[in-house]
Amino acid sequence: MRNISVSHKILILISFLLIFVLCVYPYLNFFNKIFIESFNLKLIIKVFTSSMFVKALFNSLKLALLVSLLCSLVATPLAWLLTRTNLKTRQIWKKLFTLSYAIPPYLGAIAWIKLCNPSNGILNNILGVNFNIYSITGLTIVLSSFFFTFILLNLMDTLGRMDATYEEAALLSGSSYIGVFFKITFPLIKNSFLSGFFLIFLSVMASFGVPAIIGIPGGIFLLTTQIYTYQKLGSLSGIYMSGILAHGLFLITFVLIMIQIYLQKKSYKLVSGKSSRLNLIKLRKSQPYINIILFILFFIIFILPILTLLISALSKTQGIYSFKNFTLDNFKYLFSLNETLRSFRNSLILSSSVTLICLFLGFIFSYVVFTLGKSKKQLINFLISLPYSTPGTVLALAIIFSFGGKVFGVNLGLYNTIGLIIISYIIKYLYFSFKTTEDAFYQVDISLIEAAKLSGAKWHHILIDIWYPMVKPAILASAFLIFLPALSELTMTILLTGPGLETIGTLLFQLQEYSDITGGTASALAIIVILLIMVLFLLFQLLNLVIKREKI
């Protein structure tokens, strides 16, 4: 530390303070408020022994397990097919199947209710069945259709980087292709499979939108929706009960993460970081059939829900399919509401300001971690990743308790303001920009920095003149990872929102929940959101191309 100048030390100090306030203080304070300041053993016992808790816990775990299993079953062969075979269309399918990553799952929920509700579900009518979407099965299908991309992306990345000689060696030893997959390939990718599996498991435990839109009407409560319900009771005991339950959910999440770390420590680390040539397994006659199967899968999880929303948004009367029923009234009505423009304005202000702040903080924090070396790296990484892995419902409550009233004795008056939502998004999404930028720091040739030092540059010169241009591509890449989810965030916002603070997410939720169950207004808004996301997605792809070209 002797060689570090005073101004640099101040930067490090401020960074540590900020990381503490954003990533540690809310947890400590939340725990303190619930279990120490207003300790109420009776209430605690009541929450954890109620049948509602037991049911919600059981539902959460059951649903998480079902979704994780279904996703693994679909995504594992798919990932293998798209990385390890000579399927001609695989580049297109890769792009298409990762599309659903960008769309918020609750939009799918709205569509699937139209398709499979027991009274007049479109799909039920067409197929002549009576499938009830308001069930664990319904929840499993809708959540899986979105979350399977987690495991798919993980596996495609690992399989794409895996050294093919391991498999070739086994093939030459006389093993069959199937035998190679189970004996060689799978053990090697076990780590990335596990991390995908646990990511889905935890995401289901933490999910709110889909369980609220589909689960609550079906009487199926998860821990998240139960916490929300307590909170919306509005009474003081309701708020404390939600706080107590939130700690339960947090504890379960924490235990699951520990189990994951334990399991992953026990598996191999044989995947080389360098890209090596892949042996592509030759598919000949089966190619057209595989394409048909992939198309059906893509149709079910992607085209069908969007088509449903589109038709619903353009229908005068829901459930009638003719050109006479075509109308733009749903859109007109949507934009006659004061809330609509306000929600768009709020969401855009929120996501752009949060993106900018996160990019800035992510850059500074990764710089600080880099200069302090490996010893501090793990701790800071853990602290910043904590809010990212905390269920949004829990985090939002911790933030209300920590920043809603007095903060370190000063009343900031943030409750029911956009400021509180901004803080919550920053805390939640900081990890994206931090992680991406930090990785980029480690990829820069250190002699570029040393050359600047010897040129006489002080740390702040180097930060601006060398580090910033070198890691700029990573910073820009993480902008998209923050902007898109922030634009349609629902889980935290629904707990933090107040009068005049509608966002796109909460407006959709309200339209679906309260005012417009069978109508097309929610669908109209959903279609606009999907279009908006698609346009941003394309823009980002273009931006990426430009950056890549600049690099070459």
Binding site: R2, N3, S5, D445, S447, L448, E450, A451, A452, K453, L454, S455, G456, A457, K458, H461, D465, I466, P469, M470, I552
Partner: protein, 241 residues
């Protein structure tokens, strides 16, 4: 131009001693090579001169001034030492064109734009790159990038020029030409140069003085002729044969 002296300098990482009680003197205006097999500590010595590494024990002098002594808590930061350095990987900043790369040390020191322009083109002329000043590094060959790095090291009129295996990434023909060019430039500018290499041909053809190193210690030092004629032990004999 300056002289450098190491007095009883040691350097250890995690209790492993890399440099053991090293004494050496580099005279003003000399071209000095630190020669030895990989892992002998030659790059570490260079990095201690530049201040990119700090010695664990002993004193380092720049002329009559102590620039590093951990026991007395003296350490001059690398950005204050005004030394030029040419790295093995060139370390030419990929986001700046040739002119901006060479101009950077002057910009930091607060020279005016017109002064910067004059000095940069002077430096670029020395390395015969003045016609490529607006090229980006990725449009240059390895040899040209190395010349940019050299010009950048020279432009701020450094007290010492440090070169860390600067030619090892170039092909054989280019290496020979660069060897002659660098030596000519050094003699023209009467510059103190410290040159790290594992290639004895480079060391013997360019240097006024050679320090032959092994396992963190100097095996033999002297002019190329002295070492060639009187190798002091079997290690030196084997290494230079």
């Amino acid at each position: 131009m300056s002289s450098i002296e190491f007095k009883n300098v040691s350097k250890s990482y995690d209790k492993v001693e890399i440099i053991i009680n090293l004494n050496l003197k580099i005279k003003q205006g000399d071209f000095v090579s630190l020669l030895g097999p990989s892992g002998c500590g030659k790059t570490t010595i260079l990095r201690m001169i530049s201040g990119l590494e700090e010695n664990s024990e002993g004193e380092i002098y720049l002329d009559d001034r102590i620039i590093s002594n951990p026991n007395q808590n003296i350490f001059m930061a690398p950005e204050k030492r005004n030394m030029g350095m040419v790295f093995q990987s060139y370390a030419v900043w990929p986001h700046m064109n040739v002119f901006k790369n060479v101009a950077y040390p002057l910009k930091i020191k607060g020279f005016s734009k017109s002064e910067i322009k004059i000095k940069v083109f002077e430096a670029l002329k020395l390395v015969e790159l003045d016609s490529l000043s607006d090229r980006m590094p990725n449009q240059l060959s390895g040899g040209q990038q190395q010349r940019v790095a050299l010009a950048r090291g020279l432009v701020m009129n450094p007290c010492v020029l440090l070169l860390d295996e600067p030619l090892s990434n170039l092909d054989a023909k280019l290496r020979e030409k660069m060897r002659i060019d660098i030596r000519r430039l050094q003699q023209k500018l009467k510059m103190t140069c410290v040159y790290v290499t594992h290639d004895q041909l480079e060391a013997f053809s360019m240097s006024d003085q050679i320090f032959l190193l092994n396992s963190g210690q100097v095996e033999q030092s002297g002019t190329p002729d002295q070492i060639k004629k009187n190798p002091i032990n079997s290690f030196v004999k084997n290494f230079i044969s």
